[in-house]
Every structure is written in C-alpha cells, then in structure tokens.
C-alpha cells in the first residue's frame, strides 16, 4: 500500500508536466511563425504525454490504497481544484510574450533535465521508467529553449529588453524547485524521491552559461534562485494564475462529467 506522500510526489511530477504542457498548448495556432508554433506544440505534447504516464501511476497508487471512488488519470487531471495541485509556481505563470514563454521553458527544462536524470535511479521502478523515457524528450526541450534564450537575449535591443523583463518576472519562482516539500523529505531517505537540493549546482551552472552567452548576466539574474514569499505550488499554495488555467482546462469535464468523444 502506497504512503500518502508517495501519491503526492507522483502528483507533483505529473502536475508540473500537465500545467506546463497546457500553457504551451495555448500557443497552438498563435505562434510567431508556423515553424515555432509546431515546435512548441510538440513540446506541449511531450509534456502531456509525460503527465499521462505519471497520472496513471498516481491513480494506480490511489486505487491500491483503497480510494473511496475509483481514481483515473482523467479524474486527477480534471477533477481536482487549485489547492490539490502540486506543480511548482513557475509552470503555471501566464505565457506573456514569446520571450517569457521561452524563458519559462528553459528554466523548467534545465531543472527537469537534471532532476529526471537522477530520478532514473528511483526505487520506484515506474517513476524510474518514466524518467528514463522522458529524459530524451527533455534533453531536446533544453537544447531548443537554450538556443532561443541565447538568440533573444543577444538579439535586437527589443528582444534583449524583453528577456530582461522575463527574467525579472520569473526568477522569483525558481527557488522553490530546490527546496524539498514535506512529501519529498518523506521519500528521499527511502530512495524514491530525488533530493531537489542535489541538482541545484548543476542547474545554476547551466543557467549561468546560457545567460552569459545571452548577455543576460548584468540584468535581474541573481546569484541564487529566489523564493517566492507566500506559500509554494509544491505545497498547494498557488498564484492566482492557476485558477484561470484550471477554469479553462477543466471546463468540459466539469460541465459534462465523464463525457467522451
């Protein structure tokens, strides 16, 4: 029987992927050029695919633990409210302009790359398998978003200014990625969860390298990831952005429960 923290941890991983995937999907049909519209939609599909595997895993754990009603990947994605979601604050932030969307992807992908790299050795074989499968996708997301950060940061005066603004808007949400939530603390010693603090140095180095090449060092980029003062998405205390996202994403299942097509 799975511990509650094990379920919560699986949801944390799944919610990150679903929420960022959904945010990216908001660009579908609205990308700056067709080529990049497709590129970002591909990343959205990769993330939603990862979310499905992780929700299926979480649902299995819930049902094995004797959940009162049968839990499915859909009930987890569409039937929970804001405070039930465990995604980090970074991924729920609104798209803004192309620069902000790119930067959000880069900051998250860099974290996911090192974090999933370590998760491949999880004692939970299912999580390890998802990490193994996802890491190839994430490697490309990191490459793609890095190239974009460099070109926008070191591009025109306007693109540089927009990237500086994006760093200013998003940096405050990065600290949370490296502070373990209670359910992570519970699972680190048993080898199921990755200690998020253990990937901080690698993340800082990668971000520093890309920011330097993108001429972003002198801007709002500070020496350590910043902690957003109130709450924390990993603990279920979200910014108002998530409520709007869920209202749109969950509308159909809320209005027509269990509908299929």
């Amino acid at each position: 029987m799975a511990a509650p923290s094990h379920i919560e941890y699986s949801l944390f991983l799944a919610d990150n992927a679903l929420i960022l995937g959904h945010r990216n999907s908001e660009w579908t049909g609205h990308g700056p050029i067709l080529e990049q519209d497709i590129a970002l939609s591909n990343i959205a599909l990769d993330l939603i695919g990862q979310a499905r595997w992780l929700y299926q895993h979480a649902a299995r754990l819930c049902n094995e633990s004797g959940a009162a009603t049968r839990v499915t990947e859909d009930s987890l994605a569409y039937g929970r409210d804001s405070w039930d979601f465990r995604n980090c604050l970074l991924v729920e932030q609104a798209n803004g302009d192309w620069g902000k969307t790119i930067l959000r992807q880069f900051l998250f992908s860099a974290w996911q790359y090192y974090y999933f790299g370590a998760l491949r050795w999880s004692r939970d074989g299912d999580l390890a398998a998802v990490a193994e499968k996802s890491v190839k996708e994430v490697t490309y997301h990191l490459r793609w978003s890095s190239e974009w950060v460099i070109r926008l940061g070191d591009g025109t005066a306007e693109s540089h200014e927009r990237m500086v603004r994006a760093v200013d808007q998003l940096w405050r949400f990065t600290g949370e990625l490296f502070v373990p939530a209670p359910y992570e603390l519970d699972l680190i010693s048993s080898g199921i969860a990755v200690d998020p603090a253990s990937v901080k140095d690698q993340w800082m180095q990668k971000v520093g390298e890309v920011f330097t090449e993108a001429q972003l060092t002198a801007s709002a980029f500070s020496a350590t990831p910043a902690i957003y003062p109130a709450g924390g998405g990993k603990k279920g205390v979200h910014t108002e952005q998530l409520g709007y996202l869920l209202a749109e994403m969950q509308f159909l299942q809320r209005a027509y429960p269990n509908c299929e097509w």
Binding site: I33, E35, I38, R143, W144, E147, R151
Partner: protein
C-alpha cells in the same frame, strides 16, 4: 512569413540507413542551428528520419524552367540509353 531575419532553408531527410537524403520541404529560420531544430520539429514528428540536412535556399543553383526544351527534350528520344535490351538472369530481381 518571410522576414530579413529568417531566410529560407531547404530540408533533406534520410529515412533509413543506406538511402540517400531526400528533399522534403523548406522552412524559415534565423540560422543553421535553428533551421536544423525546426526541420526536426516539422518533418520528423512521425519518425520519418535518421538524419537531416539543411541548406540555405539561396545556395542552390537551379536550372531555368524556360530552358527545359534544350536541357531535357533531347534525352527523350534516346531510348537506347535505357538498359532494357539486355537479357537479365532470373536471380537479379531488383534491377
């Protein structure tokens, strides 16, 4: 939409080992790295390729369609250039 910052690139994909790269379309990108990424995202989504080439479209020298009479018609009447007059042994199946 074409802009001065995003020139046109031609994309060639090799679908399997042993086959040649084949032209499959074109795209806009700011430079070679971005063109390669965009080619991967647009043209290999369904597992179409093992290798990609991108070439700036303006690096291609093309024949002039107005000259196709001079260029290609003379070959149409030279059927003896097709190796169809040889008796092939049955063991050779894929000629």
């Amino acid at each position: 939409m074409a802009t001065p910052n995003t020139p046109l690139w031609e994309v060639f994909i090799r679908s399997r080992n042993g086959l040649a790269h084949k032209h499959c379309g074109s795209l806009h990108a700011s430079d070679a790295t971005m063109a390669l990424q965009a080619a991967r995202d647009i043209f290999t989504r369904r597992g179409e390729g093992l290798s990609i080439w991108v070439v700036p479209s303006n690096a291609i020298t093309a024949s002039d369609p107005a000259e196709k009479g001079m260029m290609f018609e003379p070959a149409e009447s030279k059927i003896y250039r097709h190796p169809t007059f040889y008796e092939l042994p049955d063991e050779l199946k894929h000629m």
